[in-house]
């Protein structure tokens, strides 16, 4: 049939389309690296070497990232995209090593974010790199987050705060940088964290989501995306079967953000409570 042939031809072409130009690729890579360089990697005991190495206590003040020449640095600057060496591999190794533990061998973003500290197989090298590159931030694997009914922080709506370099002090993550750039980076880190939370929710891992939100609250006490975080918390509480908590935070959300774009999502979550 002619039409089918037409469709088949269109699809054949679509399958082999080339990607965007190299500049777009380089920009995205640079941005990814920038984000990853400052996303706080939670180092639960699960990320530590198998041998019973005592966990260093979290430093009172966050250490500046250890400057490290990244093995891919040359390649990166070859692309002309990154002016500075990026601490990248370390963080991904840490994430990877941790997540491996909980892998069920099934489909994609199902990783529970809160791994219980029971690892014995994580590769030490990876872990050490992770430890070294990152301000040590030991979060106890938060399987059972406290009922964190933190009062709404009345943040500026994300869009607005994205546009204006606000003075909200980024806490740990960007202490080594400063100014508007830091703000952008912080925002990216916030987004990444909340993205992980959403992933947990989608993977039906509300405990992981709540753990991620606790991490968010601890890392960005006055984060620009706090509103989104609160909405996600309502969803997570509802998903975790903590209906009362969800409802009460939901009510608080409504009064704190009366015209929030996220209200429909919050309402959906509340309606889903049996």
């Amino acid at each position: 049939m002619k039409k089918d042939a037409k469709v088949a031809a269109l699809l054949r072409v679509e399958r082999v389309r080339s990607g965007p130009d190299g500049a777009a690729r380089a920009r995205v890579l640079a941005k990814v690296q920038k984000t990853l360089a400052i996303v706080p990697i939670p180092l639960s005991p699960a990320h530590l070497p198998a041998a019973p190495v005592p966990v260093a206590p979290p430093p009172a003040a966050p250490l500046p990232p250890v400057p490290m020449v990244h093995p891919l640095g040359a390649w990166v600057s070859g692309l002309g995209s990154a002016g500075k060496a990026v601490v990248l591999v370390a963080s991904l190794a840490a994430v990877g090593a941790g997540a491996v533990v909980t892998r069920g061998g099934t489909s994609p973003p199902t990783a529970p974010r809160a791994e219980p500290p029971v690892v014995t197989t994580a590769a030490p090298q990876l872990t050490r790199r992770g430890l070294a590159a990152r301000p040590l931030e030991v979060t106890p694997a938060p399987e059972r987050p406290p009922v964190p009914m933190s009062p709404p922080r009345a943040p500026a709506p994300p869009a607005a705060s994205r546009a204006s370099p606000s003075s909200e002090a980024p806490s740990t993550a960007s202490s080594a940088t400063g100014g508007a750039a830091a703000h952008t980076e912080t925002l990216a880190a916030e987004r990444a964290l909340l993205d992980g939370v959403r992933g947990s929710l989608r993977a039906r891992d509300p405990a992981g989501a709540l753990a991620g939100l606790d991490r968010y609250a601890a890392t960005f006490p006055s984060g620009a995306l706090a509103e989104e975080a609160e909405a996600l918390r309502v969803e997570s509480l509802a998903a975790a079967g903590r209906g009362d908590d969800a409802r009460s935070l939901g009510a608080r959300f409504r009064s704190a953000h009366p015209s929030s774009l996220l209200q429909p999502a919050v309402d959906d979550a509340l309606r889903s409570i049996p």
């Binding site: 080339s18 990607g19 990814v32 997540a99 994609p108 790199r129 993205d195």
Partner: protein, 204 residues
């Protein structure tokens, strides 16, 4: 803290191969030591993620941000990757999540097709050179005509070539549902192509 930075080039090569071809690496599966090389993954599959997002309705001007978001998620879950499975469907799931979130945002709902005419590829692939820009747009527009669930399955199966059972597993739907949804998606897509072509002819 004493540090030993181990250079990973040597290991990375093997793992990248494992990632790319999804062949099991018996001696040291990437999943065990967590050494899937993220940057190689990025390089190898950037185009795929980009196109997948586009096929799932992310607008051209937002593709860079969304691709970034996908790779950040991928990075966070790198350890979940099972080197015995093909990497693209795994990446697809991340792209799907990002695209779905994208669509949920009210500010994107209004004009999803608005700038479909300014697709900014470096250029058509060799095989595509005979096909006009307009025809490429046709695919995008026709996809836009599909309901999101159908579109997702259609892209996964018809463009990425993932088998229906595998797609069903990835999308967490029953296989029978997938087959019937795919049938509907194909019908929708063909109808949309017909409609768009008729409109094109009418406009001439």
């Amino acid at each position: 803290v004493t540090v030993s930075f181990r250079q990973t080039q040597a290991g990375a090569v093997g793992h990248a191969a494992a990632v790319d071809r999804s062949s099991p690496v018996p001696s040291s599966p990437a999943g065990v030591d967590g050494e899937v090389d993220f940057t190689e993954l990025f390089q190898d599959h950037f185009d795929y993620v980009w196109h997948t997002l586009r096929r799932l309705g992310v607008r051209e001007r937002d593709l860079e941000d969304s691709t970034h978001d996908v790779f950040i998620s991928v990075h966070r879950h790198l350890g979940d990757f099972d080197p015995e499975r093909p990497v693209r469907p795994w990446l697809f799931a991340f792209a799907l999540r990002t695209a779905a979130d994208y669509r949920r945002l009210a500010r994107h709902r209004v004009d999803l097709v608005e700038d479909v005419g300014m697709l900014a590829d470096a250029g058509p692939a060799p095989e595509a050179q005979a096909i006009s820009r307009q025809e490429l747009d046709l695919v995008a527009r026709a996809l836009d005509a599909l309901d999101f669930d159908r579109r997702t399955l259609f892209v996964l199966h018809e463009i990425d070539g993932v088998s229906v059972p595998a797609a069903a597993e990835l999308l967490r739907i029953p296989v029978n549902t997938a087959y019937s949804r795919l049938r509907l998606a194909r019908a929708d897509f063909s109808a949309a192509v017909r409609r768009l072509e008729a409109r094109k002819r009418g406009a001439r």
